[in-house]
């Protein structure tokens, strides 16, 4: 048995908004019988420009059905602009989390929503076309998709990419390609600033602030979070995560990958980042 949350099981047992809306404003279809899961999403806008109704049909496992059902509930009442910002993590969060091996179900939800919005905006009603280079031929996953999902979900291992996109989960021949893509997503290693001898504390703090402003804050804001520099003691940088980041399960990961890494790279390799008060 999978460790499904009560909410996943509830949406699986009692799926909301099953069906197809006739004369829908947006139709999105992703997946296939061969892949093992597929989702058809339809929505209709109300006079106020908000999504008045959304329905789904899903072929797939319990978490695929639950993710689809959750998606329709989430987007009702949203404007197109708001719906565009829904991420796969939002779907997983709405369900109280998904087992990591099942995260691809939430990605399928986000993809169907995007396809439906695309259909609404352009009138195009095509099954998802594989754009760019196909990396995983078993499940038809492109380099672009892998890049996007890996970046949005801060994925660092091939196994994670497989859990989120299915890529690499078939014959496994593309695992090296996936590793290469992950490698290319790592921030470029720039040569450290020419050592100006011992850095003064004032200069160090200024540089830390600069890097936070330029490198770190924009990334966190994208996920609805923020960061505050609290103190600097020697090589220890005390920060506080704010907004969505504050109670995020990924906080430790964020601290290392999004905060500490660029600070070490651009300020000093000996820096250590701690959460203030911890």
């Amino acid at each position: 048995m999978w460790e499904y949350s009560d909410k996943v099981l509830d949406h699986f047992r009692n799926p909301r908004n099953v069906g197809v809306i006739e004369n829908a404003d947006g139709v999105g279809e992703v997946g296939s019988l061969a892949c093992g899961d597929a989702l058809k999403l339809t929505f209709k806008l109300g006079p106020d420009g908000r999504i008045a109704d959304a329905k789904f049909q899903t072929f797939g496992c319990a978490s695929a059905i639950a993710s689809s059902s959750a998606l329709t509930e989430m987007i009702k009442g949203m404007t197109i602009e708001e719906a565009r910002r829904v991420t796969n993590q939002d779907i997983a969060d709405y369900l109280g989390g998904l087992p990591e091996q099942k995260m691809h179900c939430s990605v399928m939800g986000r993809e169907a929503l995007e396809a439906a919005i695309e259909n609404y905006l352009t009138g195009k009603r095509t099954k998802r076309i594989l754009e760019g280079k196909v990396i995983c031929t078993c499940f038809g996953v492109t380099e672009e998709e892998i890049r996007r999902v890996a970046q949005e979900n801060h994925l660092t291992t091939v196994e994670q990419v497989t859990h989120y996109t299915k890529a690499g989960g078939g014959c496994g021949r593309c695992k090296e390609d996936i590793a290469r893509i992950l490698e290319s997503l790592k921030p470029p290693v720039e040569s450290p600033p020419t050592s100006p001898g011992r850095m003064t504390t004032v200069k160090k703090i200024r540089m830390i602030e600069e890097v936070i402003e330029r490198e770190i804050r924009p990334k966190l804001r994208k996920d609805g979070g923020d960061i505050e520099l609290v103190d600097v003691e020697g090589d220890t940088v005390y920060i506080a995560l704010r907004g969505m980041c504050a109670n995020c399960q990924m906080a430790e990961f964020t601290l290392r990958e999004v905060v500490e890494k660029p600070l070490r790279e651009f300020v000093s390799p000996s820096l250590q980042v701690r959460e203030a008060g911890s």
Binding site: L9, R13, E29, G36, Q57
Partner: protein, 391 residues
């Protein structure tokens, strides 16, 4: 309410008679059979009696039975133990539908420089015998072919193949984990060299199994560190498990004919009932050459894990060949090797019966399953349906 357990190819309920037989060896006679004192030494006699019970079920000599921790160990010990003892054999022949306990060691050997050949099956899961014939021409080989398939129940004709393999200079191991106790096996007539069996598939507890090694067959032990099992498997004997396995084999021998007739009738009623009440469903595997307790059914347009969760809500335990239920993304290698279409693989479930399955279990399943299939199909975008007006 007790569970309706239709997952007996995964594991079986320990028979109450088996538990009763083993309990004294946990409570009272817990001594070490290797001990010099009477308290421990008296246990030896019971271990040897259990060995006789296992041998009797297979038509073997008791000295040819080695107790192990289960099916996976027996498979590994046979394959690696034989090849270590006979370095001249460099070829391993197996089938594409074997259990991972055979396939993984074979692929491991391939990585170690052995030549490995995997024989295919046809759409009904039957071995492609012409491929086997061709492979045997390559020289002396270790051949490992299962007696019965765990997913479909399809039987390989080991009785017919064994003499041909021997005539070609091959050595034959058969994984008979699913077959023992469900179909008659007699190694005095069928020239297999190794045979694997597992306790918990035949109403003994988990953690006990056996490997039949034909007298005179070269074998190097996998596990060293003691003299037990005539140096073929070291480690203090799992006495309660051994007693249980002996009892389970004795029960199987006494009851097999009657029980398999009853199970087959129940299975056939279940299968026919499902096919009649669920459109777009199909049986996977040769319906004629099959275990009496197993059916593997595909439901088009829906996915197996979802079926299992709904069945579980209805208190029915089954299993599936779908990718999602396995934790990997690859669906059943057995059904794929048979060329079953993807859509049918993803929507496959396995129902496997036992001596404890009742008429009522079948009635309840026949009532619940069509409802579940219909419920999931109502969600599926692939079900061909006449155009309907929006809700």
């Amino acid at each position: 309410m007790s569970v309706i357990y239709l997952d007996n190819n995964a594991t079986t309920r320990p028979d109450p008679e088996v538990l009763e037989a083993m309990a004294p060896f946990l409570r009272n006679w817990w001594g070490n059979p290797s001990s010099m004192h009477a308290f421990g030494g008296q246990v030896r006699r019971h271990v040897e009696q259990a060995r006789e019970q296992v041998a009797a079920l297979l038509g073997a000599d008791p000295s040819e039975i080695v107790f192990t921790s289960g099916g996976t160990e027996s498979d590994n010990a046979a394959l690696r133990g034989f090849l270590e003892a006979v370095p001249a054999v460099r070829t391993v022949i197996t089938s594409r539908v074997e259990h991972p306990a055979v396939l993984e060691p074979c692929r491991y050997l391939k990585d170690r420089g052995y030549s490995e050949i995997e024989i295919g099956v046809d759409g009904q899961g039957r071995l492609r015998e012409e491929e086997l014939e061709a492979a045997l021409k390559a020289g002396p080989a270790l051949v490992s072919l299962m007696w019965a398939n765990n997913e479909t129940g399809v039987l390989f004709p080991i009785e017919r193949l064994a003499p041909r393999i021997k005539a070609a200079g091959g050595t034959l191991h058969t994984d008979a984990v699913q077959a023992v106790g469900k179909v008659p096996i007699d190694v005095s007539r069928v020239p297999v060299d190794f045979l694997t069996l597992s306790g918990h598939k035949l109403h003994a507890p988990k953690g006990i199994g056996a490997l039949y090694i034909r007298r005179g067959t070269p074998f190097a032990p996998l596990i060293l560190g003691g003299h037990q099992e005539h140096n073929r498997r070291s480690g203090t004997e799992n006495v309660p498990g051994i007693i249980a396995l002996g009892k389970a084999c004795e029960l199987a021998r006494r009851r097999m004919a009657e029980e398999t007739r009853r199970m087959a009738a129940l299975r056939d009623r279940l299968e026919q009932g499902i096919l009649a009440s669920c459109p777009d469903s199909r049986i996977n595997g040769d319906p004629m050459q099959r275990l009496p307790n197993t059916t593997n059914i595909s439901f088009h347009y829906i996915e197996g894990e979802a079926i299992l969760y709904h069945l579980s809500d209805a208190n029915i335990a089954a299993s599936s060949g779908s990718a999602c239920s396995s934790g990997s993304l690859e669906p059943s290698h057995v059904l794929r090797a048979m060329g079953v279409p993807f859509t049918a693989v993803h929507g496959s479930i396995r129902l496997s019966l036992s001596r404890f399955t009742t008429e009522e279990d079948i009635d309840v399943t026949l009532r619940e399953l069509p409802r579940i299939v219909a419920k999931l199909r109502a969600l599926s975008p692939f079900v061909p349906r006449p155009a309907t007006k929006g809700a």
